[in-house]
Amino acid sequence: MSTATMSSELFNKSIAELATLLEARTITSVELTQAVIGRTQAVEERIKAFNSFDTGDALAQAAASDVRRAAGQALGPLDGIPIGIKDVIAVTGQPLTASSKMLANFVSPYDATVTQKLKKAGAVIWGRLNLDEFAMGSSTENSAFHTTRNPYNLDCVPGGSSGGSAAALAAGEAIATLGSDTGGSIRQPAALCGVVGLKPTYGLVSRFGLIAFASSLDQIGPFTRTVEDAAITLQAIAGHDERDSTSFKVEIPDYRAALKTKKGPWRIGIPKEYFGEGLDPEVAAAVEKAISFYEKMGCEIKNVSLPHTEYGVGVYYIIATAECSSNLSRYDGVRYGHRSTDADNIVDLYFKSRAEGFGPEVKRRIILGTYVLSSGYYDAYYLRAQKVRTLIRQDFLNAYKEVDAIITPTTPTPAFKRGAKADPLAMYLCDVYTIGVNLAGLPGISVPCGFSSGGLPIGMQLIGQPFKEADLLAIANAYDSAHDWARRTPNL
């Protein structure tokens, strides 16, 4: 059993620290990138966070960053920082697999908008990170390639679906990573791996170039070592994109500056529905301790009610599966991706290519989604789910009349053992605290707030108001900057 320690290695430092070192020319991006590559080569066999990485490409980007800096043209705090990318976000010339056999050989001919933005900020795009196939799952066990391990306990899962993004960061294999969050896929693995994970408001970050799972719920966000790093990364990727009609035209504030200017005290809501049956006592205790920190700093702690919480998982699995059944139709073996070599006609080609290319969880969700959209069932399932979704959002908006943010546990339990949740329903319940945030389109952040007696990280979730990431980050930073949970590293 590993225990968390502090580390002064380059690969374990925060973006903020490294940006200072780069700026002072104490280190170069090539040195930093080499440190990350070296660390990856040392631990990856045990962690299995990556689907692929391209060291030559990363070092070339790092060298270009150093040239820029030498010319006095550094692009900002991300210039020269190696950032890992979940393997559902397109990077030109790099594989884009969604951890599926269906796309095992697919190479993207274009950049996602977030990739372009990170490149514009000077980041070193580093590696393709493992996930549950097509982002469907909570453990990365649904990856068609391999299961990623929790760096704090290699027998445990890192969470999912962005398990590779969380584990790589926790293990020092990247300085920050990007993930995507449809029902908790950033926050849950962040909690299980002891890092910060931010899901922005729906519409703040462009989805162009993100392989769609459930279009009305998907959102890209960063995994970082500190809340400050989350602010720095969000700054680079947020903003309206004319290639994504669902991205909002909102003014983007200076998130990092807001950490200093917004000081509270805040009114913090505690929803009783998130502290009931099924919550591990150690997780409950850690989160309650964090709440008392806020109380001590002068925040007003209020009980709030989110009465439709219990419908969240059901509503989610109707809407998300309906959308995915349509979104995944394009993987048919005709233009790209896996094509069965054993088909006699077009219908056969569809059936066999998809039967061979998709794993069981993806198939389960496509079948469920196809069913709920079928003629005669649409009103009873999809339409009703959309109505309940509106009620769930209204619950949050009502609460925000009285509070600035809501605190809950991120997950009911710390990381569980691989294979422990063979029943799909048990796995779905891992996201019980995170799903409502996606359904309501709100920003949510998971911040490490302790360790279990077994040495596994525990996360708390702070939920903010739509497009008020600056406030949410400031509230989260008040805790994070006063604690070292997120700065600890696993013994590998």
Binding site: S108, I211, S245, T246, V334, R335, L373
Partner: protein, 485 residues
């Protein structure tokens, strides 16, 4: 028992935009296969659609031209089905909230004769919605290849109520609809290029019955004449089946215009469940009053309105208007020429355009836009004739020269010496007297009341003048002298 036919038409019209419906890549026809594609058209992993506002403008214009109610919100739905011509395996379309509702297409039925205006009628529309076109499959000996150039082209589906009664009405409907779309600059409606496609739903029922009979959908009607012929054929087929005691099966049939026969493609038991649901990638778009007003301002006068106006304003006969108004450019050309020629000359202007200009353009395979003869030329020509400067044979010669060179008529008349010589009145009178003296029989007949007998006198006079006498003046002089005699 007497039967009547009930026909509803579903017409797909490609909208003429620079780029495709949901991405910036160019829309077009006749390019090498799969060159008009990008990651969005090919539905690569991770791409998203963004609506082309010009396509929405165009369908709103179509709706306004056809008197439709324009929905306050443009909402998008996904129509899910697997087929290789559809890259996403769903089509972005409009299901329960089409952008245009109601409205109608005005048609003119054939008149009693070519020069008699036929009955007008309005064919009610159910809806018009916007969607994206699919790609094209090319079947080879052992493979099928897909060309996605057409995929994603903005496409309108115009659905009529089942109120069309005959193949002739269907023909008139498509003719009018196509002209409206071309007039509005919405589409070129070239059926050979697939810019206009039509499916017909046809049923028959006993006259007096209000319930609809079993419908048959007729596909692959790739010219307006084939639509007419296919419908006529299908009505006859259904009558024959019914009269032989059979029943009509609900099915889709393929009409072959070459052979004038049809065959069953599939029966309705294979009906799809398209699992429509709102597209979560596209936000609904509000269409407010200002938007509609802007488009209204771009709407042209439609052919039938123009026809009525031409008849009133220019005193044109029906036959001329029925040629002029169906081509927006030709009608504009006419109006410009008629205005330049001045009052009372519009019919002559119209005749020159419809007869001579159209004939020469056709022979030279030129469009009106390419014509060297401009409206001012026509106006000048008509004025020269009216003034007696130019006689009809000479005028034809001037026109041919003008068509070839683009030179002004007066200049051609001068350079070729085609002006009618100013005839000395005394000389003309002399020729007239000679003709009267030499043709006693014609004179007698004329005096007995046979009006046409005067023409027998004109021949010798024109011959004597070498064709340069003004016919109007010859006629006047002859009548005066005959009255005196």
């Amino acid at each position: 028992m007497k039967y009547e036919a009930v026909i509803g038409l579903e017409v797909h019209v490609q909208i003429k935009t620079h780029s495709k419906m949901f991405t910036r890549v160019a829309a077009g026809y006749g390019q090498p296969a799969n060159t008009l594609t990008d990651p969005v058209v090919l539905a690569l992993p991770g791409v998203l659609p963004v609506m082309n506002k010009a396509a929405l403008d165009a369908i709103i214009k179509a709706g306004l031209l056809l008197g439709c109610d324009i929905a306050p919100v443009c909402k998008w739905d996904r129509k899910n089905y697997f087929y290789p011509d559809s890259p996403k395996n769903y089509q972005i379309s409009q299901f329960d909230q089409p952008i245009c509702l109601n409205g109608s297409v005005e048609i003119e039925l054939p008149g009693a004769a070519r020069n008699i205006q036929g009955e007008h009628k309005k064919i009610a529309l159910t809806r018009i919605h916007l969607e994206e076109d699919v790609g094209k499959l090319n079947h080879e000996a052992f493979d099928s290849l897909v060309d996605y150039n057409r995929a994603g082209t903005p496409l309108m589906e115009i659905v009529s109520e089942p109120v069309i009664k005959s193949a002739e009405e269907a023909y008139a409907y498509l003719t009018s609809l196509r002209a409206t779309m071309i007039y509005g600059g919405i589409s070129d409606c070239d059926m050979e290029k697939g810019q206009l496609r039509c499916d017909a739903n046809i049923s028959i029922r006993p006259v007096g019955e209000t319930k609809l009979g079993t419908k048959v959908e007729l596909k692959n009607l790739n010219s307006i004449s084939y639509v007419r012929d296919g419908i006529a054929h299908e009505i006859q087929r259904q009558l024959a089946v019914t009269q032989a005691g059979g029943t009509i099966v609900q099915e889709t049939r393929d009409y072959d215009g070459q052979t004038g026969t049809s065959q069953s493609l599939r029966s309705k038991e294979m009906a799809h469940d398209y699992r429509y649901f709102p597209d979560p990638d596209l936000m609904p778009v509000k269409v407010d009053a200002a938007w509609k007003a802007r488009i209204q301002g771009e709407c042209p006068e439609l052919p039938f309105v123009k026809q009525t106006r031409f008849q009133a304003e220019y005193a044109l006969p029906y036959t001329l208007t029925s040629v002029l108004v169906w081509d927006r450019a030709l009608a504009a050309y006419f109006e410009e020429a008629a205005k330049l020629a001045g009052p009372g000359k519009a019919q002559a202007v119209g005749n020159w355009i419809v007869n001579d200009l159209q004939r020469e353009l056709g022979a030279a395979k030129l469009d009106l836009a390419d014509s060297k003869v401009r409206p001012a030329h026509i106006a000048e020509l008509v004025k020269l004739i009216d003034a007696g400067t130019l006689l009809s044979n000479a005028a034809k010669e001037v026109f041919i020269a003008m068509f070839a060179s683009g030179e002004a008529p007066a200049a051609i008349v001068a350079s070729k010496g085609l002006a009618a010589a100013p005839i000395d009145n005394a000389e003309l009178e002399g020729w007239c007297r000679e003709a009267i003296a030499a043709n006693a029989k014609s004179v007698a007949e004329f005096k007995a009341g046979k009006e046409s007998a005067i023409n027998g006198l004109k021949g010798p006079i024109m011959k004597a003048s070498k064709g340069k006498a003004n016919p109007k003046l010859v006629d006047e002089t002859l009548r005066r002298l005959l009255a005196e005699a």
